[in-house]
């Protein structure tokens, strides 16, 4: 039988990592759930399960929400198997403990997704739980478990040998722990964790921000935790994000598009050279002089639609049309990088009223984007917080942050009040309802009050 030796425990852990790449987590459809509700995104009116959340017309029957829920629990089941079965395996104790911690890290990522998207959900911590019909845990209980686990996982090694790149490290655990604190407004605790990462000196921003969004410079010095994609005929190794977001002209599904608002937001401030924000060039390709896409001049490629705004971020834009049409994206998903750390740090410090360290962190981000530095004392606390929100929208566009930030900051009504295309926003849409099928299958589960 399985789960008998160290190799099999490692295989179980590998299988748990592979669950990160399930369709509705960090892959094609998951990215839609993570992004489409933000004001920086417009969904194509094609598949109601995608555009209904975007337009806030979704209800418990939405299958995209359902499958995200399901995929999260599939990840949790695999992690729990590793944790439970480790007990009976005789092997090197240190590696065994690492494996358990890595599994807990992955499990916490899944609970993070559940807390972000559903607010409340059952907490399953065993592969053979007492009941198959669990009640849901409250929002607070979920976050408490997430924090507890990430804290424990912080005992992982700081780094691994180069053949183990991709495994979760101490720093990944601390960064996600800090992120959890941010969601709970625990600013000082967040600062403590983030300060540790910054002070370690192990990470720095890549000079070119685009190195975070292509397949060239993976697992670089900015990277803290990356989901690994590669081109292989083995199942589920290619990043499907590219084809789902690519333009129709190369066979992409262009399911989501950037909103006018975000395109303008990028243009709010010019660089020290009077040019567009460096991140704008790294994020989009539009009709600017000399713009090229798929090795063809932009105007030629989009001759019938010169106003098109294509994403460069996560796309195979520099391949030939024929090659790009194969949609073989190997681009890793850097779900935690040093710029996250810096902007989280800036936010937590600003919330605590420590404006100086906040501005320093913001300036690191701004300077890489070729924007001028903010002078200390030139901004009030609120202005700094506003600046952080602006920088986060730009820096993390399409990386699954903007929508959750809107919810976290409670600014949905402000953001959507003047949005004529999305008039149906209400606070209850901050979270998906518990999927109807889950309620049907589990009478111990009660729909959230707003729904």
């Amino acid at each position: 039988t399985f789960w008998g030796n160290a190799d099999e425990l490692e295989q179980g852990l590998t299988a748990t990592y592979s669950a990160l790449k399930q369709t509705y987590l960090w892959n094609s459809q998951g990215f839609k759930n993570m992004n489409s509700r933000g004001d920086d995104i417009v969904a194509r009116i094609q598949n109601p399960h995608i555009y209904q959340p975007d337009l806030f017309l979704n209800d418990p029957s939405n299958t995209f929400a359902r499958d995200m829920w399901k995929n999260a629990y599939i990840l949790i089941f695999r992690a729990n198997q590793v944790i439970d079965n480790s007990q009976n395996i005789e092997m090197n104790d240190q590696r065994k403990q690492e494996i358990v911690l890595e599994a807990k890290f992955l499990r916490s990522l899944a609970y993070f997704v559940l807390a972000q998207n559903f607010q409340q959900a059952p907490l399953i911590l065993s592969s053979d739980p007492e009941t198959r019909f669990p009640e849901k845990a409250s929002e607070a209980e979920l976050w408490t478990q997430i924090e507890k686990d990430f804290m424990e996982v912080s005992q992982l090694p700081e780094n691994y040998s180069s053949d183990m790149t991709g495994h979760a490290t101490k720093w990944a655990a601390k960064a996600f722990l800090a992120k959890s604190y941010l969601y709970r407004g625990k600013w000082q605790l967040a600062v403590d964790e983030l300060q540790g990462i910054i002070d370690s000196g192990q990470f720095s921003l890549m000079p070119d921000v685009y190195d975070n969004w292509n397949s060239e410079n993976e697992n670089n010095e900015e990277s803290i935790f990356e989901i690994q994609y590669m081109f292989s005929t083995a199942s589920n190794q290619i990043n499907q994000r590219e084809i789902h977001f690519a333009p129709a002209a190369i066979g992409g599904y262009y399911v989501l598009s950037p909103s006018d608002w975000i395109f303008e937001e990028f243009q709010k401030e010019k660089t020290v050279d009077g040019d567009f924000d460096a991140r704008m060039y790294a994020t989009f390709i539009w009709n600017y002089p000399g713009a090229e896409i798929y090795q063809v001049p932009f105007t030629e490629f989009f001759s019938d639609n010169p106003d098109y705004i294509a994403w460069k971020k996560f796309q195979l834009w520099d391949k030939s049309i024929a090659e790009a049409s194969l949609h073989r994206s190997e681009i890793n998903e850097r779900i935690m990088r040093y710029s996250h750390v810096l902007l989280m740090y800036a936010e937590a410090q600003a919330e605590l009223g420590n404006l100086s360290p906040s501005i320093q962190a913001i300036n690191e981000i701004r300077n890489r984007a070729k924007l001028s530095s903010i002078q200390e004392g030139s901004m009030t606390q609120n202005e700094i917080l506003e600046e952080i929100r602006h920088q986060r929208a730009l820096e993390f566009h399409l990386e699954g942050e903007r929508w959750y930030d809107i919810v976290r900051w409670g600014i949905g009504n402000d953001v959507f009040s003047n949005n004529l295309e999305r008039p149906d926003y209400m606070e209850k849409f901050n979270y998906f309802p518990i999927p109807q099928e889950e309620l049907d299958a589990n009478s111990n589960l009660i729909q959230n009050d707003e729904w």
Partner: protein, 1082 residues
């Protein structure tokens, strides 16, 4: 009696005896007593007897004929002597002066050796010889011949001075002597204790069809056959007495003793099909019999002259029904309106008129398609060596572009007898190829916007396609031309039996055989650029599978008679194994025009799977018959299956059945109305193990890889994906049946009626468990009970009026289905999504039936804002709120069934059943001189269909073309009850969870109408054309269907399973076919 008549009477010396002395002599030598009136026979002359041996009847004839007396041997050991009837008084030995010769054949001209011919009103009779000929001396040229043969209706033929007569007998459907195949044996219908339906070859081959299943549709009570679609070569779904399982409801198919697949046999090779419907009949097949058993017997080698039959037909099919969709101008106008209604920019910029009529996709996609069948069969042989062999070719083009089915089959069956041994073997090969539709082309033909052109030479591949916000659908024309999707099956079935008659009535039989199925799927996609959809590389995938199964069975049966009691014993053991292995490969980047995997330059990948399954069994049966009055059968089978964990591997399945032939009781007066009357009752326990292999175990999936390392190399990942179900056990089924068989009016009218109830326990199902358990698939559980009960009637009537011979038969079936228990009790199972990503429509829960429609009720269309404002809810605190706040005039009003003030999935209520109240079929056969006419109707009543096609084109889940019904959509100027068109649909008008698209699915279809003309029947007449029999016919299939259902075909079965039944997801439509056929016998 025959024994007594033929008893030898020994005369030891020449003498002359009085008639009384003759009687005493016979009495002394045979023990028979005489009953007679002495006064009436005393005038009889004395008889002179020569020394020697004489038969008893000869002796009696000699005595009694001169005084016009006759006699009768009775069962009670007496000989009754009586006066002859007046009508016969003229008759004398000398009067037998008119000789008639001739032949006796069946309807097909087949000789019937062994048929009996008796001169009416006399004991004068002969038996037809081996070649089918007879010679009889009758009293005069006006004599009447009574011709009888087992399995055929007895016929009276007036001689009318003819000296050579060919007598044709019709098979008698009501014949009680009909031999019925049951599990591991045969039985006379009159001895049957269970509920068994039977259909013979003549009815099967009336329906031109690619498979056996559709040929038996509607022909048998209790057997519901629905087709997966009208696609050539498509299989059927057969359900016997409803659905007793939530998993597989497929019956067990046994072909010539070998478990097999009904789709791998040509209908032309079938001799008979028996369906074991009740628990008692099926229990001999134990763990696989819960859904009934279908026994197929192929054509046997027959004794007699060699004979060659050639049957062929050619037909043309066309689409039977069109669904009306918008032309381009209508489409543009309506779609733009749907955008404008939501405050969006219209999709089409130019004026609707400028788009004109556009493309008629149905016209491009459907065409008139030919079908043809040619079958050659020869058979013949001697008593000890006989053979039957056939070859069959069938080819049907689909009415849809580039679809079709082709089949070639050949078989040989022979039987050799040597002493106590009989050897019998069957060998058949069946090769088929199906060209399938790709990319759901049938549905796409309706959905494809008519504004899109068929061809666009600028696109790679040359076809037009959808673009922009249009739903990403393949043009059906492009899909059928660019993609190849073929399925091939090479199937071999072989078995060999040896029968050893060890002593009289003790037969020991070994049956060994197996099937081999090599399956092959071929998919090829040419590179294309069709609007939004593109692929820059040619790609290919191939899948080969090999499924091999074998069976070894040994049985011994013994018949033991003691006085009026007959016992039949059967004992048997069986062992079976099935193994499957497949290999598939795919690749892309092939050069144009090359279709082999090896030419792939990119994305090469291979994979394979394997499974095995074994079954071991022991079984036995006792059949007891007391005086043809009381019949009793008891069976038991013990099965062990590899599909279950150790503790649940073995199970025992017993059954008991009884029958009482009331008509054979002495108190039952011989009545001219009722000829036979039998009551039956049975009880049986059955099993179902169709859950796939290894379902009980916690399988580890070993393809969950993930790359690690700076160089990203794949690490091997493995884990358990699904929750295990170690306690799985057999589904068990207890089935009870009471029935009666009546034969009336000189056996011309027969009625069979049954009432049954079957209870399934421990149902195996992948029950939806909370997704929070993290199982990738729901695990199997034994979760509930389902009850099915219902009535079945079958009536058969034969009548001859002059030259007109009629046969009418009809059947009717009702099934009442109820889920008695499901899971924890409050468990529900939703299913039946009619469309990609659409909401479920069916619900299964305790107290209801399996897969009933459960939908939000619609309540008309809001005609004004006022109506919306008036549709309010008042909560406990007295606050009034709108029930449908997102609605605008033209939107649907839904019923707030749970009265919670909003329309949610909680408002779903029972909306109807996919199961019919009853299904029925009737057919008639009229023969008049050389003409014959056959018609066959079938139908269903009271079932609902969720019209997924209408949902797709009227519910606008996507940007597609629309049905013309939406031309009447609500606008302020057109206050109709068709809801307004809306692209975003904030009110949920288009939700699939409402009853908007639920329709009545009742129908009556004329499935077959055939008119034949027999050109010649010169049986065995070598002097003439050399053709013994020639018949030509014309026929029409699916000539008309009476139904209110607006989709293509009300006779649907969702191939995606029971819980989706009655959900029409856009299946290949039926064709209406006209055919011309010929049957020749040499």
């Amino acid at each position: 009696k025959g024994v007594a008549q033929n008893a030898d009477v020994v005369i030891n010396t020449n003498k002359t005896l009085s008639i009384k002395q003759v009687f005493q002599l016979i009495n002394k030598q045979t023990d028979y007593k005489f009953i007679y009136r002495h006064d009436l026979i005393k005038s009889a002359p004395d008889i002179h007897l020569e020394k020697g041996v004489i038969k008893a009847y000869e002796l009696l004839d000699k005595c009694l004929t001169p005084i016009n007396f006759t006699y009768e041997f009775t069962d009670k050991g007496t000989i009754v002597v009586m006066e002859k009837q007046i009508t016969n008084s003229l008759q004398s030995i000398e009067a037998l002066q008119f000789q008639v010769s001739g032949k006796v054949t069946d309807m097909d001209g087949e000789m019937l050796p062994g048929a009996n011919i008796v001169e009416k009103g006399t004991a004068n009779g002969v038996t037809v010889d081996f070649d089918g000929n007879f010679v009889i001396d009758v009293a005069d040229e006006n004599a009447i011949l009574v011709v009888s043969y087992i399995g055929f209706a007895t016929k009276e033929v007036a001689v009318n001075g003819q000296i050579n007569i060919t007598i044709t007998l019709a098979e008698s459907a009501s014949a009680l002597d009909e031999i019925v195949v049951v599990g591991y044996g045969t039985v006379k219908r009159s001895d049957l204790t269970g509920a068994v339906s039977s259909i013979k070859q003549d009815k099967i081959e009336k329906v031109a069809s690619g498979n056996v299943g559709s040929a038996i549709q509607g022909q048998m009570a209790g057997v519901q056959v629905t087709s997966n679609s009208g696609k050539p070569g498509e299989g059927v779904d057969v359900k016997i007495r409803g659905t007793s399982s939530l998993g597989s409801n497929d019956p067990l198919y046994i072909i010539d003793g070998i478990p097999s697949n009904i789709n791998n046999i040509s209908p032309n090779d079938v001799e008979s099909i028996e369906v074991l419907k009740d628990g008692a009949s099926a229990a001999i097949y134990g763990s696989r019999a819960a859904n009934g058993v279908v026994l197929i017997t192929t054509k046997r080698a027959r004794e007699g002259k060699f004979r060659l039959d050639v049957n062929g037909y050619y037909g043309l099919g066309s689409i039977g029904k069109n669904i009306s969709v918008m032309n381009a101008e209508q489409h543009v106008r309506t779609m733009n309106q749907a955008y404008i209604n939501d405050g969006l920019q219209p999709f089409y910029e130019n004026s609707p008129e400028s788009y004109g009529v556009g493309t008629n996709w149905s016209e491009e996609f459907y065409s008139v398609a030919p079908m043809a069948n040619l079958n050659l069969n020869y058979s013949g042989g001697s008593k000890n060596a006989k053979v039957n062999s056939s070859i069959d070719y069938f080819n049907q083009d689909g009415i849809a572009l580039n679809t079709g089915f082709e089949r070639l089959s050949a078989r040989i069956n022979s039987e050799f007898t040597k002493g106590k041994f009989t050897f019998n073997e069957n060998l058949s090969a069946y090769l088929s190829q199906t060209n399938n539709e790709s990319q759901s082309s049938v549905k796409r033909t309706l959905e494809m916007p008519t504004t899109v052109p068929v061809y666009n030479e600028n696109n790679l591949g040359g076809y037009g396609g959808t673009y922009g916000d249009m739903f990403d659908i393949f043009s059906p024309i492009a899909a059928q031309n660019l993609f190849t999707n073929n399925t091939k099956n090479d199937f071999i079935r072989a078995n060999f039996t040896v029968n050893y008659e060890a002593i009289e009535k003790l037969n020991i039989k070994l049956n060994t055989g197996g099937t081999l199925n090599n399956g092959y799927n071929f998919n090829h996609a040419q590179r294309y650029d069709v609007g939004t959809l593109k692929s820059p590389l040619n790609s290919i995938s191939e899948n080969r599978s090999r499924n091999i199964s074998w069976i070894v069975e040994g049985t011994a049966d013994y018949e033991w008679k003691i006085e009026k009691q007959t016992f039949n014993f059967l004992l048997g053991v069986s062992s079976q194994k099935e193994s499957y292995r497949n290999t598939s490969g795919s690749g892309s980047g092939l050069p144009d025009g090359i279709f082999v995997l090896g030419a792939s330059t990119q994305d090469m990948s291979v994979s394979g799977t394997e499974w095995n399954h074994t079954l071991a069994s022991q079984f036995g049966r006792i059949h007891y018959n007391y005086d043809e009055r009381y019949l009793l059968s008891a069976t038991v089978r013990r099965d062990g299956s590899s599909r279950f964990a150790e503790k649940n591997k073995w199970a025992v399945f017993p059954s008991l059945a009884m029958a009482w032939r009331i008509s054979n009781e002495s108190f039952f007066s011989e009545s001219s109305v009722i000829n036979d009357f039998k009551l039956r009752a049975s009880y049986g326990e059955l099993g179902n193990q169709e859950i796939g292999n290894y379902a009980y175990s916690a399988l580890i999936n070993s393809s969950q890889h993930y790359p690690f390392g700076m160089d990203q190399s794949l690490d091997f990942g493995a884990t358990q994906l699904n929750l295990a179900s170690p306690n799985l056990k057999w589904e068990s089924n207890i089935s009870k049946d009471i029935g009666l068989d009546i034969s009336m009016l000189r056996n011309t009218l027969s009625v069979t009626a049954d009432y049954y109830e079957s209870n399934s326990n421990d149902l195996l199902l992948r029950v939806p468990i909370p997704m929070s358990n993290g199982s990738a698939q729901f695990p199997y559980q034994n979760i509930g009970k389902i009850r099915n009960r219902g009535f079945e009637f079958a009536v058969n009537w034969n009548k001859e009026i002059g030259d007109l011979r009629m046969n009418l038969s009809t059947n009717l079936t009702t099934v009442n289905n109820k889920v008695i228990k499901l899971g924890t009790g409050d468990q529900i199972i939703m299913a039946g999504s009619p469309y990609h990503l659409a909401e479920n429509t069916t619900l299964t829960k305790q107290g209801g039936e399996v897969g009933e429609f459960f939908l939000i009720k619609t309540d008309g269309v809001f005609q004004s804002q006022e109506e919306i404002n008036n549709y309010t809810h008042i909560d406990e605190s007295g606050i009034t709120s709108l029930i449908q706040p997102n609605a605008v005039p033209g939107d649907i009003r839904f019923k707030d069934a749970n009265n919670d003030g909003s329309i949610t999935s909680g408002d779903r209520v029972y909306a109807g059943s996919a199961m019919p109240d009853f299904t029925y079929g009737f057919n008639f056969q009229l023969d008049w001189r050389k003409f014959d006419l056959y018609g066959f109707f079938n139908g269903s009543h009271g079932n609902k269909i969720f019209n997924g096609t209408a949902y797709a084109i009227e519910g606008l889940p996507n940007f597609t073309n629309m049905g013309t019904k939406l031309l009447d959509a609500w606008t302020p100027d057109n206050l109709s009850n068709v809801p307004r068109v809306s692209r975003l649909d904030p009110n949920g008008n288009n939700r699939s969870s409402s009853d908007r698209f639920l329709e009545d699915g009742s129908y009556l279809r004329l499935k077959e109408l055939q008119l034949g003309y027999t050109v010649s029947t010169n049986k065995n007449d070598d002097t003439n054309t050399g053709i013994d029999h020639l018949r030509i016919y014309v026929s029409a299939q699916n000539l008309f269907t009476i139904t209110n259902y607006s989709g293509y075909n009300p006779d649907i079965y969702s191939s995606s399973g029971l819980l989706n039944r009655g959900v029409d997801t856009g299946i290949y439509p039926y064709s209406k076919t006209f055919m011309l056929g010929v049957q020749i016998s040499l």
